[in-house]
Symmetry: C2
Subunit: 445 residues, 2 copies
Amino acid sequence: MRLTRYFLPVLKETPAEAQIVSHRYMLRAGLIKQAAVGIYSWLPLGLKVLRNIERIVDEEQQKAGHIPLLMPTLQSADLWRESGRYEAYGEEMLRIKDRHGRDLLYGPTNEEMITDIFRSYISSYRDLPKTLYHIQWKFRDEMRPRFGVMRGREFLMKDGYNFDVDRESALEAYDRHMVSYLRTYERMGLKAIPMRADSGPIGGENTHEFLVLADTGESEVFYDSAILDLELSDRVVNYEDPNQLKQIVSEWTTPYARTDETHDAALFDAVPEERRRSSRGIEVGQIFYFGTKYSKALGATVTNAEGQRVPVEMGSHGIGVSRLVGAIIEASHDEKGIIWPEGVTPFHVGIVNLRQGDAETDAACAGIYAGLQALGLDPLYDDRNERAGAKFATMDLIGLPWRITVGPKGLKNGVVELVSRRTGESEELPPEQAVEKIARIYAYL
Amino acid sequence: MRLTRYFLPVLKETPAEAQIVSHRYMLRAGLIKQAAVGIYSWLPLGLKVLRNIERIVDEEQQKAGHIPLLMPTLQSADLWRESGRYEAYGEEMLRIKDRHGRDLLYGPTNEEMITDIFRSYISSYRDLPKTLYHIQWKFRDEMRPRFGVMRGREFLMKDGYNFDVDRESALEAYDRHMVSYLRTYERMGLKAIPMRADSGPIGGENTHEFLVLADTGESEVFYDSAILDLELSDRVVNYEDPNQLKQIVSEWTTPYARTDETHDAALFDAVPEERRRSSRGIEVGQIFYFGTKYSKALGATVTNAEGQRVPVEMGSHGIGVSRLVGAIIEASHDEKGIIWPEGVTPFHVGIVNLRQGDAETDAACAGIYAGLQALGLDPLYDDRNERAGAKFATMDLIGLPWRITVGPKGLKNGVVELVSRRTGESEELPPEQAVEKIARIYAYL
């Protein structure tokens, strides 16, 4: 994309209403614009990041054997009356009356609707296990929306639901979700730590939240620093091997890691002192095995191998897709702007032309641009008539991980400059080699 | 995908509430499930088609140089009060009050919001032309929702808006949209005819609807059959060449083609009698140049080359993405079920195993399945323990354009059967050749 043809409204001033860095940078770098309190438009650059995150989530769910569908944003109140949550949910549920006076609501979550879909079609253990998920806009009418997309009202979320004939199989689904989530966050360049969560009135130990460490996090977290060294990296995961999944889950859940809600000081004290850490964390996902809470309420039963009808075992598993855009920025920025991890960056590389209008420099930039596109890469070419400083400031603010700087001086020596946004390291090399190097970097993702 | 692992709830009975064939087949083939009146869940197979259509729309818009962003589903009422449409819109607008009593609405369209985005950031002709679009869920509270997704309440739509400094440039945007829409429908295997539409109180000649011919269409249409022979096919379109665009638009708008709203009997009578046709049509898109209606109301101005501030010239352009799923079925089906065009089919090919459990037949199917996947194709393998008749009926109902049938008898001769869903023609050939043939068919798309 050539910047002069794009729509990238970068702001010079820091908007006064933004209290945290991700919100400030998302407004300044032209990622979002507020449409109403807690409701945002995703401007072109922001939408690209959002779609990248969505794609990673989607691909990793499908690798785990989970099946995508799409439930609507609006739901009938009837199902929620059946489960008993219509009255219980409180003011966060956005209640709506249509022209005929029928009660609708903007779905804040989908346990009821997915259970209704399940019970409408599936009645035998032979069709299990099944995990169905969707990635859809939700609405929670927060009392005080703030922090931009981190605590917005209309937000994009992946929520998935497993259906299993018994507890053992449902716990395999739990493990499968945990591993697929670890992979998902890792691909985004995020360290998200699974922490034992509070299961509330339902009880049970099988719920974990995934937290990204950041000073602005809403939760206080306590953990054994050993967990930071864990990586799936290029480990081959077989999602059909429950033993391998269990082993990975055990690896990630053995080191102490809890939020203030489940913190146990005595257990924490047992962690060697030099590895004891406390900090703040942002929740970016949760997995939850809750058994038969909804299947009993809504009558979703299956016949098991013994011919008995039993309520189906379920869990629900969520990833905050739009929230992740903010969380990634909280975890990866500096005083100049955002630093996108390669996995989610809106453009793979920026091209800065230091002398726009100079025939040779323009031609070199056009060649690099075309060369990158020919390799399937998506560059952003700053072809504005601006001085170098302004172009660098824009690139730093919007946070593309790599920048190729092209100027007459370098070209005289047959080189351009390749700069890493994260480290600031730069090297000079011929244009073709710069293109090849960028291609190699992204080939590994 | 192996069918035993998928979620494809095919119904044997025809649901009584479905009055038209697309609605019947969408329910029977497990594409959708009604969640509330006029509101549907997209089951896995339906979602795949929806996403294919969305992807084609998105790609063709980007080829035309249009820029994607994403506006939220809910909007503040304030902007609509500014344009004067809040009261005028009537009962089709779903009005909502949040917990603080603020007026929201579920966006039925986005002229106001996009104009607000534009006026917030752009103020010079130097940043024009710009066309911004999104593909987002909308809601219109239809009095009597019916015909499934064809006249639903919550629906997915692409809506795009051009911003130009003067009328001439805005009319170029109009032409660009018409050509990109022709390409879009053609890629979906659809013949969608641009017909002069009624511009309502705004007036002007520059609005066309795109109609797909089908007996169940809501509009009566009159046309010169010569228009059916027009094809873009593999013509190279340069979206930056206004003359080429104008020439293509002229080609498609010269033959008579109008809906009952704009029908002119005298002009129609001038068409040679043997080419005069009347039938029914389904509207699947509309383009509309409306000038300064919204920019004046909302104060969206730019300085032109002479330094004067002028209201920006606009048009809006829509494609009914979810409606297209129904429209394609209306245009392409037989008494056994759906017949998907290759461009939108949920799976490229079905594999039917005639003797599930037979080691050799299973191995042959597995080999074909893996071979197709290795070529980047997405097959559906019916690996159920069902008799051949039931498997064929399912494949015919869900409408995959190609089927590979694998049985012990054929394998003895080293062949499988490749069948076209559309023509019913079949040929016997070795498994590797069947795989190659399927790959060749899709390579051309």
